[in-house]
Symmetry: C2
Subunit: 333 residues, 2 copies
Amino acid sequence: MGVTIKQVAALSGVSTATVSKYLNGVKLKEKNKISVENAIRELGFKANTIARNLRTNKSMTVGILIPELDNIFSTKIISYVENELTPHGYSTIICDYRSNPELEKQKLAFLLDKMVDGLVVMPDKLKNKDIKDLKVPIVFIDRIINDSSESAVLIDNKKATYNATEFLIGNGHRRIGIICGNSDIYTAEERRKGYTEAMVANNIFVDENMVLHGRYDVQTGYTLTQKLMQGQRRPTAIIATNNDITTGSIIALHDMGYTVPNDVSFIGFDNEELSRAMRPELSVVLQPLEEIGKNVAKIILDKMNYNSAPNSYVMLEPIFLSKGSVKRVVPEN
Amino acid sequence: MGVTIKQVAALSGVSTATVSKYLNGVKLKEKNKISVENAIRELGFKANTIARNLRTNKSMTVGILIPELDNIFSTKIISYVENELTPHGYSTIICDYRSNPELEKQKLAFLLDKMVDGLVVMPDKLKNKDIKDLKVPIVFIDRIINDSSESAVLIDNKKATYNATEFLIGNGHRRIGIICGNSDIYTAEERRKGYTEAMVANNIFVDENMVLHGRYDVQTGYTLTQKLMQGQRRPTAIIATNNDITTGSIIALHDMGYTVPNDVSFIGFDNEELSRAMRPELSVVLQPLEEIGKNVAKIILDKMNYNSAPNSYVMLEPIFLSKGSVKRVVPEN
DNA sequence: CTGTTAGCGCATTCAA
DNA sequence: TTGAATGCGCTAACAG
């Protein structure tokens, strides 16, 4: 369908091999170089990458697999990753699996089909066996897979909620509700642990009615906040553990007529923009998105370029932004 | 480096042609079919799609090109498009061009390189000449390209802001500020026109200081809102014309100590979640994202399957959600 | 520095 | 039904 190297060769009076070399940066005799260039221009030639990939077994593309597309947290990180990859000549193919375990595997296979040279994955239900004998380098973001020692970049999730919880405790709170993602997600479980550890460290009883699990979405934040606030003994503070849960939780509180922090103190996660828009602004745990992205890019580039690059596991510090959504209360004890 | 059709053929005692036929759904003699299936299983054979694409000139994938990845408006639509495409056997490759005209063309070329069978594009600076002789079907979302009669799905943008503006006028507002995207973006210009037309239709002078243009991002919303509110004669109402501008605008108002709607009335765009989180909730113009996605999918599928499918241009109705962010005022003059 | 030759993995004639 | 042969467009030896 398109113009081929053969036609270029014919028109310029050299062999296809020579044209190919030209395309791959090999120096030609000045005269040949010029006639090849002319032919390319005249014919409007564009190399067929599919054929090239077939031949070289490389595609100069990195596959990116995330659970949801409409999740700013992951898309922002990806933007940063892309930013670092592009200057090195790599393109990216982004796929989402709608938090669906079936799709998760299918899309992984799809990316492999496209002969990606590397993979950046935010996994959900993926198991070690699904990835352990892939021939392409892989880096996990945000979450890791049990028993896998593949490279990963994430934040210290336990610390994130530990700090948030301690902050609340320091302000007199004892009944602290927390809304977590499903406990089979690594991140969710870590965040839950951070909370529990902080409570325990401060000799506070952990009421299981205060620890709720659901999906990482607005609806979950909404519903579980209602549940927390409708219980017999309400929390005096709530921690939302992801971007969408933060949104849903705030909407629910407002819909129920509660004011933050007068009726209930609040610490959000990730949702910097909502935090800034509210008055008082929300105290939030933020992740260093740009740093995450840069680390991911560095690791995957290293791995693609030096097969021997060892796995690296990077754990970054969460950022706690203290704003006006936490009120000091008298401890109930 | 994987298992090839050749090895399968060898192991099952038939020719590669026969294996290929099996893979493509051609009926084989029962005995052959079984041995081929066994061989495939034993060897763990997986057809190499790159080779297949090279041969067939098809990839069963649709390329999606959007300006920004961290823009929920586009990613939500894409989710819906994907949802409709998957059951038909099509996968998607998503690329963003970071609102960069250079990248916009590059990524388009990248997708073409991947031999996508169809294209869904939210264009920015793309010109008709860039796409007029592509051999793959294309559908535009949200924005169209001048002098191009390609298929497109969008909302009636002019009406969206016309209605919002009329609503404000009906509530006594005369000095109405509006923050628009860059005027070379189709959508931005339409929205600006809707505003102007409503003003003119109501015999209200259009003060050019009230009509500001910038990027479709939070920073723009923030800065231009400051500008509007710092002027000598402040607006009594502000219209933000996209998701991020809405966010930035609200943050700016709050940072300056203004309350909505007491100090200034406000109508946002797209940002349903922020709208729901605020108290009073924000009045907003919403787009029917799911409907947009479904229309896009339908059109691109038709075009990929019947080359003759005519171009279609779908214009959907915007939704105006009236909440508490608009206050009735006494008209100034 | 250039051309010849071979083949990546698959799908598709055309005969048989 | 099947198989032998051919080639999609390109790159990679190797020899010249």
